[in-house]
Symmetry: C2
Subunit: 331 residues, 2 copies
């Protein structure tokens, strides 16, 4: 038995039960062949579209070992990929995972990564259908997710029109606040710190919210707010061929609390800090109040209005063009 | 315009025309939303199964820059993933690509990688539907491919029975011979060297062969021979709960020629050297001659008989158990 095979078995046991969820009577038909053959086989149901997305996390770029465990990094990689499904209004079906891990302690590190990956997979009901492993001096995690969505519920970034309301699925800035706290552990303390660190280490893709919003004919465009409201609002506007005026930037309580400790502007966390994985949507003006009411009843939180779409390009905030300040991995 | 966006545009132009192939009247319906949104959307046709597989290449593990260009590495990553579709009898539909590239010369290196990726995508008619990019000290390439196959044509590794003929889709060893020559460039010379180097740098996934063999009810199991005949024959036998006796190891002409120059055993190249991406199949004994005849007529090369399946476990070669000698990336 080679070490490769031991690792393969470790993965098989880590993801056992994930390939075929027993709660879902359809899953056996959907994932026909799972891990162990050359490729996984599944059949999407007939009236649905399949959706695919890939996300990559690299040690030293997207996470550092001194501020995030490998288990959290595994969760985070899965969450980032799942968030793209949420943004299309899709239901998660299956994922493949390619891991690069240093040779020195490969077995234990792969196990730790998969603990986080499998926890996210269980929580958001996605099967792990296969993957690949390689030695690599830095930990790299590439996750590809496949989902399904009713054809009529697919939401792109391009459907927004002037007059539509711009809204987010929840308050922003907690993940960025958590990152700053993780970098300055001396400032950690209290419930707000815990909540911000959790948002940074175990972000929640808004799968249920995305499916709910995707199912509404009054939602005209949707994307995940993964690079910060300022960057992502501009992207949505450009794809839709219009602009927007921001009226309010909703800051998460934990981000506000952490900003105070850190001596930072909480609004900056919300505008520039991405990776909260909240959804950014546009809603027909006349329908917003009704949809927001249904949303609040369903999710016990508000669909937060942040502005309104306009004809003129660009995103305006407090009377001035909003500058871009998202993540730039090559900067 | 940030450097991230320049790179994004470079990729968009590199893969332009790949998302929607004009030759295929169905492709517009199949890939509904391509690069640029949160996720790609497609719809497999109704009577078909979807198939997914992921492969990862890492600089210093799967390729070295002194023996392989980044363009070749891009081709190779795509070829390795496509080979898994071939092994399922599937037709390629779409791919996602996650690239890690050093910051120093990122734009040019991404472009070079994508030249190879796009060349393979064009050759094997697969759309590039999305992906991700990150700074990474080593070049890493993760390719996920999705294909379709008629439900009745799916071939796993587990269907072989005692008495079936074991065969390969072509002669073996050229890619390993090419690797050795690339490591000892002083020994390169003549047509055999060129052919071996080509097999190493631009391997061909056997998509057409896989679809042909998958469509035969007399093919009982199929896999790609990517880790060497000795390792992969054992895997197929274990998955099928039987064993095999090897009768012949077909060595590619170029591998034989290169082995002579290198002073190596050409059979070892064929047994231990993987990554030729030939397919390993089992065929019902009585049907082999007929199928091999049709195969030769169609592909102008032989379906090569290498042995026969038996009840007793293990793989035998020249009266002794064959040892394993595949690749072990953590060894």
């Amino acid at each position: 038995v080679t070490e490769d095979e031991i690792i393969h078995n470790v993965i098989l046991s880590a993801v056992e039960g994930l390939s075929l969820s027993k709660d879902d009577p359809d899953s056996e038909r959907r994932v026909i062949i799972g891990i162990g053959d050359d490729a996984a086989v599944w059949q999407p149901s007939r009236s649905h579209r399949s959706v695919i997305s890939t996300d990559m996390l690299v040690e030293g770029v997207h996470f550092r070992r001194d501020t995030m465990s490998l288990e959290d990094a595994g969760w985070r990689a899965m969450a980032a990929a799942l968030s793209d499904l949420a943004a299309m209004g899709a239901r998660p079906v299956l994922a493949t995972v390619a891991l690069g891990v240093p040779a020195a302690n490969a077995g234990a590190e792969i196990m730790e990564l998969y603990k986080g990956i499998a926890a996210a997979a269980r929580r958001f009901e996605i099967a792990i259908a296969g993957g690949d492993l390689s030695r690599c001096d830095l930990v790299t995690i590439s996750v590809t997710v496949v989902g399904e969505v009713r054809s009529s519920n697919v939401k792109t970034r391009a459907g927004a029109r002037p007059g539509d309301v711009l809204a987010v699925s929840g308050a922003l800035g907690a993940a960025r606040a958590g990152l700053q706290l993780a970098n300055q552990p001396g400032l950690i303390g209290g419930a707000n710190s815990d909540a911000a660190l959790e948002a940074f280490r175990r972000p929640t893709p808004r799968i249920a919210e995305g499916r709910f919003l995707g199912a509404s004919a009054n939602v005209t465009a949707m994307m995940d707010c993964s690079d910060g409201l300022s960057t992502d609002a501009r992207r949505l506007c450009e794809a839709s061929g219009c602009g927007a005026v921001l009226e309010a930037v909703p800051v998460a309580d934990s981000a506000r609390g952490a900003a105070e400790r850190l001596g930072e502007d909480p609004e900056r966390f919300a505008l520039a800090g991405g990776e909260d994985f909240e959804l950014l949507v546009t809603v027909r003006g006349r329908a917003f109040r009704y949809l927001a009411g249904r949303y609040e009843k369903r999710f016990r939180k508000k669909l937060l209005r942040v502005g309104v779409l306009r004809k003129a390009p660009g995103v305006e905030w407090r009377g001035a063009p909003l500058d871009r300040s998202g993540w730039d991995h090559f900067a």
